[in-house]
């Protein structure tokens, strides 16, 4: 009774591993994909006030106009990116919904989409749900987990409808400089390939400024669907509010699906998001804290022989198991049972990455230190 393509969606051994972690008390978890900060108080306070004042209705399908205006202003100020609030911005329920809408709006059955792996888990699944075909562009540790232009040229020959970019990346933390983006864009712009750019971690970029691909030039803006939101940089995961910016034709198509399926994002969350854009000081503080933790954990993991490609954003690193002869799931399970430290096995992010782990440093320094001591003890026991 279940549709074939849904039946085939891969939950795999990872789901079972997650259940193990959730059932075990006193675990130090480096497996969490969300901030360890609670939403800054001024944002929470805005949500409380909104409720008190009786803001409990629907909003327009596209989302509160004030919020779209604020987002337009923010993108203009921060990235010199101009989107009109009326036609080119849609408020979504997190980037997840925005991503789903983008695919459903642009794909004909059988259209192919390039996904750069290691990739966030939802991408291939949602492409398949939208009747698309996935073309994997598998990156290598030697290339710093970045897109290899030659490989991209090869895949572009297969006439994909779109490519999904995600930088800073979940799970590697790797991001792209303006120059690197230009090189990628040069290849893409030769064909009419749409770019779905998930830049949810853009606010959490540490060593240089984040560059949206849409800001490269006019054509790049026209061909890009920029997805972002408030979950990570503003520690608002539970509010479920994100946004999509693109050419008005695309936004209008996405809004149609959104209007029929979601109707609109929750009004309380949308109002809270207007306050979030005023909380730049809190964002900077959180970013600084993540950066320090990154410097700490990367040094420690490298010293333990779990070599890490330097992450420049998000709050993940993707160490290689290298000389330790266990696959990622076995390693994660053993580490969980023996030392009560949870990490996410690399295979969750692509089958080629079974000798990697995703470690999240969205945790207190104390916990990170304890976890490192436990991992060290664990590694010593390995043959």
């Amino acid at each position: 009774m279940i549709a074939d393509r849904i039946e085939k969606l891969a939950p795999s051994g990872i789901r079972a591993f997650f259940d193990l972690v959730l059932g075990m008390p006193d675990v130090i978890s480096l497996g969490v994909g969300e901030p360890d900060f609670i939403t800054p108080w001024k944002i929470r306070e805005k949500a409380i006030t909104a409720l008190e004042e009786g803001f409990t209705s629907y909003t327009s399908n596209q989302g509160l106009f004030v919020l779209r205006q604020d987002i337009a202003r923010y993108l203009k100020k921060k990235y010199s990116l101009y989107y009109t609030p009326k036609e080119e911005i849609l408020i979504t329920v997190g980037v997840s919904e925005g991503f789903d809408l983008a695919l459903r709006a642009i794909l004909e059955p059988g259209d192919s989409v390039i996904i750069v792996s290691p990739h966030y888990v939802s991408y291939p699944a949602l492409v398949e749900v939208a009747y698309g075909k996935v073309l994997y562009l598998v990156t290598k540790e030697e290339d710093g987990f970045k897109i290899n232009p030659k490989k991209l040229c090869e895949l572009v020959k297969k006439n994909p409808k779109a490519i999904v970019l995600n930088y800073p990346s979940n799970p590697t933390g790797v991001t792209y400089s303006r120059e690197e983006l230009k090189e990628i864009w040069k290849i893409l712009s030769s064909k009419e390939i749409l770019v779905i750019s998930d830049e949810i971690y853009g606010e959490l970029t540490y060593d240089a400024d984040h560059v949206p691909v849409a800001s490269l030039d006019k054509k790049a803006k026209r061909q890009t669907i920029l997805l972002s939101g408030f979950s990570k940089g503003y520690a608002m995961t539970g509010f479920r509010v994100g946004f999509a910016c693109a050419h008005k034709k695309i936004i209008s198509a996405m809004t149609k699906i959104h209007a029929y399926s979601m109707l609109c994002g929750p009004i309380i969350s949308q109002l809270a998001a207007t306050e979030a854009l005023k909380a730049q000081r809190e964002v900077i503080q959180m970013r600084q804290e993540y950066k320090r933790r990154r410097d700490f954990i990367v040094k420690e993991l490298n010293a333990l022989g779990l070599s890490v490609t330097q992450p420049q954003g998000a709050f993940y690193c993707f160490p290689s198991l290298g000389k330790f002869k266990l696959n990622s799931l076995e390693f994660a399970k053993k580490l969980l049972f023996e030392e009560k430290v949870a990490v996410v096995p690399g295979r969750a992010f692509g089958k080629e990455f079974d000798s990697y782990l995703r470690i999240s440093y969205a945790n207190t320094l104390d916990n990170l230190k304890k976890a490192i001591i436990r991992i060290e003890r664990f590694l010593k026991k390995l043959p």
């Binding site: 997650f18 959730l22 075990m24 969490v32 969300e34 600084q288 933790r293 949870a342 996410v344 320094l365």
Partner: protein, 160 residues
């Protein structure tokens, strides 16, 4: 503010090693910078924030005292303030604008001790025109730390 100061303000007990790892500088350099701060009086003291309500057998009282004083020629408030902040009972002393001049935080073992301090030491000073004593009933937040209720993290142990 210098990054090292920011970290120390949050946790004065952090090791030099951890400071080095967090800031990407080496231990020697950090030690030298901290020594410099100590010498210049940028770092005054390393203190522990204690929630005294939770300490067994601790029965002290805290009073906030507003003091109106007569400033003196040439030195203004500084000499009067010095006479007052030298008392060991006075934990903090600030000069403020507004309806009174000095604000004191005074600690004593009970109400009587503080009352005696006010009536026998503080009020009789010739430059003190008047005092208003407020006894503290409950501390909610001190030095940026919420004492009564911490935010609880409710996120799941593992997610993508």
């Amino acid at each position: 503010m210098e990054e090292i100061l920011e970290i120390l303000e949050e946790n004065a007990r952090i090791s030099l090693e951890d400071l080095a790892k967090l800031t990407g500088r080496n231990k020697k350099e950090i030690e030298r910078v901290i020594k410099g701060f100590e010498r210049k009086g940028v770092i005054v003291k390393y203190k522990t924030v204690i929630n005294k309500d939770k300490v067994k057998g601790e029965k002290g009282v805290v009073a906030i005292i507003e003091v109106k004083v007569i400033p003196q020629k040439d030195v203004g408030f500084d000499l009067v303030a010095e006479r007052i902040y030298r008392f060991p009972e006075v934990k903090s002393c600030y000069l403020l604008s507004g309806t009174y001049d000095l604000l004191l935080v005074v600690e004593g073992k009970d109400i009587h001790t503080v009352a005696n301090f006010v009536s026998e030491k503080l009020a009789p000073l010739s430059s003190v025109k008047g005092t208003i004593t407020h006894f503290m009933l409950k501390k909610y937040k001190e030095d940026g730390v919420i004492l009564v209720k911490e935010d609880k993290m409710r996120r799941l142990a593992i997610t993508y």
